[in-house]
Symmetry: C2
Subunit: 292 residues, 2 copies
């Protein structure tokens, strides 16, 4: 069993143009009572103040790629976000944070997604609880190529909340309210966990596991095709061999040539054009869990 | 009667993160035969190359606010976009452009919108023709507060094509293809017009006329409410007195208190947060026209 979760950090604005997390954290900062739970201290943080002020993803380098320990410890890393990562890392230590939530948004139609980079029993039971209360919650297992670069990798326990579709720089009330509710349920769970009050309940949890990223077709640097209209906004829907993936600017269809049914996510995410990712392919797994 | 339209300019990338126009113009530059018409010369242009390369709206100042003649002639105006505006202005003169199309996209759900800043007979008949062929086309009459700042004000005849909802930095195949078709119909019309081949046809044209802009509720600089979920993506739908406009972060509703039915557009446009515009209110007018 994991020891009690005493100090929780909630981050918004790790990307300065993802407004849901930014305005949620601003709300929490103004109304700390909303985060109060019997057995927890909860710390809301705005991750990247300069990028938030400018309304851009980052000023010099993606903050959410700056947390590898060798980068934190490298004194030659002095870009704004690299320095910020060192401070955030220190802040987490100082406050003895043992659970971390990082709120993001995406231009992909991913609804309410929880991203895990570790499928330990604690995370799985928590996700199972959240998806029981909020049936629309989806769970994505996504380990980055370069491990531990992400803000969420700073603590053993923690997760990313990823909501969409929302354009960058836009607030949408509906997803704002839904995300807020998931955060409260999460804190409730941690509080119950600390008090050993989690009810036993058998539940099948579905997890989508990223196993591959696909780039847009390109000619040198330039993309030569768009996400196929049949695939746009179809995150988490199955695609089979022969199903359309892309459409060239001349209207030709490029199809999927893999060998099994897959479930794409992060389809047509704005910030991923520069990262050469048109979508991430996942496999769907079912896990049966007992709470408690 | 207007004299023949001989030289047409089509601009994309006046805002460097609005991908539909950028990739349409790139397609036209690679395939000039697509723009060939008997009586027309058509020039595709990428408006703001530096902003396009960086994937941002503008580098120093909004290019689409730099075209007032006093600004063009002011030799002290030396920001990147101000210099660019002078060059574009010169280019239009040199090529004797007498019709200009500027392609934009928006995070608001405005579908295929044609924006006019002059309701002359030529423009109205053209819009009437386009909305007959493409029934989803909407016509918006929108005169900026500071007149003639826009790219489209460089020539007596011309219009803006505004498509959405699309997040900034994202290409959507469906709207890309629809926009492309409208451009071709527009060129067909100009070509027919030059040959005196426009068929007479009576048609009722609906025009939405912007008469007011509304800001988000704010406390100093900070917004204190979001677009109400009932209003999100409801561009061109009627709102009446008492209908919800905003929702505060605490969930309270702020309603419309005007005195007649209005039709909002540019609801929750990402780039308009900094311009203090949450939406533009329009009145709906019907005009009966005879083509020819």
């Amino acid at each position: 069993m994991v020891k009690p979760i005493e100090n929780v950090a909630i981050f918004g604005g790790t990307h300065g143009n993802e407004m849901t997390g930014i305005y949620l954290v601003k709300k929490f900062l103004k109304n700390p009572h909303l985060l109060q739970r019997k057995t927890l201290k909860v710390f809301p943080f705005l991750s990247n103040p300069k990028a938030i002020e400018l309304g851009i993803r980052y000023t010099e380098i993606d903050l959410n790629r700056c947390f590898a320990l060798e980068d934190i410890e490298n004194l030659d890393n002095i870009l704004y976000e690299q320095l910020l990562a060192k401070t955030i890392h220190q802040k987490l230590r100082t406050n003895q944070i043992n659970f971390l939530v990082d709120i993001h948004s995406t231009t992909s139609a991913m609804g309410l997604t929880i991203i895990l980079s570790d499928k330990n029993d604690f995370h799985l039971k928590l996700c199972s609880y959240l998806s029981l209360i909020h049936p629309e919650v989806k769970v994505l297992y996504y380990v980055s190529k370069e491990k531990n670069q992400l803000l969420r990798s700073n603590t053993e326990l923690g997760l990313t909340v990823e909501v969409g579709a929302i354009p960058q720089g836009v607030l949408e009330a509906d997803l704002f309210m839904k995300t807020e509710k998931v955060i409260y349920s999460l804190l409730d769970y941690l509080d119950k966990y600390n008090q050993n009050k989690i009810e036993e309940k058998s539940h099948t949890l579905i997890i989508y596991e990223v196993f591959e990223r696909i780039d847009y077709p390109r000619n040198k640097e330039e993309i030569t095709a768009m996400i196929h209209p049949n695939l746009q906004s179809k995150d988490y829907q199955p695609i089979n061999i022969g199903d359309p993936l892309f459409m060239t600017f001349d209207g030709e269809t490029i199809t999927y040539q893999g060998d099994s049914t897959v479930y794409p996510v992060f389809i047509n995410e704005s910030a991923y054009y520069e990262k050469a990712i048109a979508m991430c392919l996942t496999k769907k797994r079912e896990i049966t869990l007992n709470h408690g």
